[in-house]
Symmetry: C2
Subunit: 403 residues, 2 copies
């Protein structure tokens, strides 16, 4: 799959396409051919230029209703590279990324973002490729009093902005263990709550199960002044049942803070899974990745037959927002720090639910029963065979022959 | 969304794109930039040309294993328009579509297709837009002895081909009621079993709930000589939990016979949902639609504010196959009868399952419990609020103000 390992965005590739073809291709890729960019304030633009990051915007519209006023929300997503070498002291690395992200939040505030989400583990490099515990475990922080959370609480209050803060969590009350967690900070500056990553990868450089377990917080939805939000952290993106439970709990916006490298399965599926989830659950999804290549001091291997090396290759950015009607924003750059701002009307969620009735015809009891059976040790899959003779033949066939 | 109502395929739009850009765009769209067309036999090509349908092919490769031989299967998907006017007698319409499909099956046999699936309700027009019961209910047939099933049994045995036959079923043993059903015919010519559509649409022209209920056959997987197959019929494509249960029951290929019109949500999501399901469940998916515009004698309305009319607009074809590694075949034409032939190695399913461990980290007990709670009448969503004061403020806010 090395051919997909590319730092150009799709939007750059599309620049050469003649206009009629472009319209068709865009319809295919975004679910619509028209563009609705928002204006960017000059102060936000100035902050972006002087701090070398990109701002992209997109607007989604819902139908006008009589009884409900529009529920317009500006959603922000931040993608960054690390800001200091991985060989610098932990405190230096952390201060550097704080400074960088602080500037991006200022730009978000200048453009009136209401709800902002940072990338997964935004305060640290993606260190799990190393399988080393130190100094990396030092980045883990208390979900109420830690440095990253405390840093963002100030911004949340100052800018009247809900901020989702994905951290490496240290649970000091329960054996000092570590979790992959996202904390929701209210626009009042108070913490509303937290969610711990439900699905943990075990592939390639993603040695997360060496550091923490599957989360124990269920599928919480956080009621904020700007809508009901939830976080499906990283690998949960591949699990439709995880998206589904956030929907059943009433989410209107589900963030997917992630860390993903180019040329991978995730790269192929990046723009698929967020859109699929938005439609299946009639809510908005925001899929966020980091950017840049992170080089470590000690070499490591990736279980792919290749020689040891000191980096995972570039993370591909590409943050985007998908709407319940199947349309999506363009993707952010694959190699630059950036802020995506999308304006949505949350009324679209219920409008789509009424139109396509996915929730009504979802048949939850059927699946509650099916999954309950499927996780029993004596589960027998519902398999229908032509007859027992054929069954024996097939077994032999499967073992012995090519077909 | 009228801008997406277009009969050109994406592949036609891509013809104008310069080669480097084309590579990037194809990587985005198909999950790979290389092409693996299979050769088409001259006899199949001859049948296609003289009967005015298109054959497209694509090959997918899996890793070589030591203990398992490759499990190469040729999968076929058929898309057709109706073959006689909807005003012709039922028997004439049926004989005409039988003759057309017979020729396509002959071509499939000439190119060694092992498992073939026809589109949803292949023996009849998509009549539910009319909400009329007669003559349309006459197309319903017994799932063991009906005309469509009987017609295909002969071909299945003659060509050593498993054929999936989606029909309008008449259950004469249980009150003559009607179902939307797919019957699996073994390559021996015997019927292995049937599955009834699980999720029924209630939107626009898709008045299916006027004719039949949600299926009562669970999520069966059919063990055939060419792999374990299942059918997620039409609207179940939008329901990830439906795809998931077929995976839990062991499916390696899941067909999605459908009937979908252009410019719709389904058009926007067509190439998204099949790929998403293939990756999430580590199996192959085959998404199939009919083509052509079907004109009825009596006018009907579509609940979209537009005047009464006599057709739903064109069905957009676009059959394709998606693999568990996130790649997919090109789409079939949007406006022509066609046969898609894909060669796959079923070993890819387990290989992807081992690599990405989606099944292992799926956490079924968590979701069995979550869905069991969610379908209770006294279900309380897992919602976390900042505090009760804020909660009251928010309620007021939601009712009274724009935010």
């Amino acid at each position: 799959m090395s051919d997909s390992f590319n730092l150009r965005t799709l939007e750059e590739s599309l620049k050469s396409v003649p206009s009629q073809d472009l319209k068709d291709i865009k319809t295919h890729i975004y679910g619509r051919s028209d563009d609705h960019e928002l204006s960017i304030s000059s102060s936000a633009q100035r902050i972006a230029e002087s701090n070398n990051f990109v701002i992209k915007t997109y607007g989604f519209k819902a139908k006008k209703e009589d009884l409900r006023k529009p529920r317009i929300v500006r959603i922000g997503a931040v993608q960054t590279s690390i800001a200091a070498p991985t060989t610098a002291p932990v405190s230096v690395q952390r201060d550097a990324i704080f400074a960088k992200v602080g500037k991006i939040i200022e730009a978000a505030a200048a453009d009136n973002v209401n709800v902002l989400c940072l990338q997964e583990l935004w305060t640290l490099p993606y260190v799990f490729c190393t399988r080393e515990k130190y100094p990396w475990c030092e980045f883990a922080e208390n979900a109420k009093t830690g440095a990253g959370v405390t840093f963002l609480k100030g911004y949340a209050k100052k800018f009247n902005m809900v901020i989702v803060c994905p951290i490496l969590e240290r649970d000091e009350d329960q054996g000092d263990i570590i979790w992959n967690t996202a904390v929701v900070i209210s626009n009042t500056g108070n913490i509303i709550g937290k969610h711990r990553k439900n699905h943990i990868p075990r592939v390639g450089d993603f040695n997360e199960s060496t550091y923490y377990y599957e989360g124990n917080t269920g599928h919480p939805v956080f009621e904020t002044q700007f809508g009901k939000i939830a976080m499906n952290i990283c690998y949960g993106r591949h699990h439709p049942q995880n998206w589904m439970m956030f929907g059943l709990n009433g989410a209107e916006i589900v963030f997917n803070p992630s860390a993903e490298i180019g040329g991978s399965l995730s790269d192929r599926m990046w723009f698929i899974e967020g859109r699929n989830a938005a439609v299946a659950n009639s809510y908005f999804t925001v899929t966020i990745n980091r950017v840049g290549t992170e080089i470590f001091q000690n070499e490591f291997t990736s279980a792919d037959g290749k020689p040891a090396h000191k980096d995972m290759g570039p993370f591909y950015g590409s943050a985007y927002l998908a709407a319940p009607d199947g349309t999506r924003s363009p993707g952010m750059p694959r190699d630059r720090d950036g802020l995506l701002i999308c304006e949505v009307d949350l009324n679209m969620c219920r409008q789509e639910r009424d139109l396509h009735t996915f929730r009504m015809c979802q048949r939850l009891p059927l699946y509650a029963e099916g999954l309950t059976k499927a996780c029993k040790l004596d589960f027998e899959p519902q398999v229908i065979r032509e007859n027992e003779n054929l069954k024996r033949n097939q077994r032999q066939h499967t073992n012995d022959h090519q077909f």
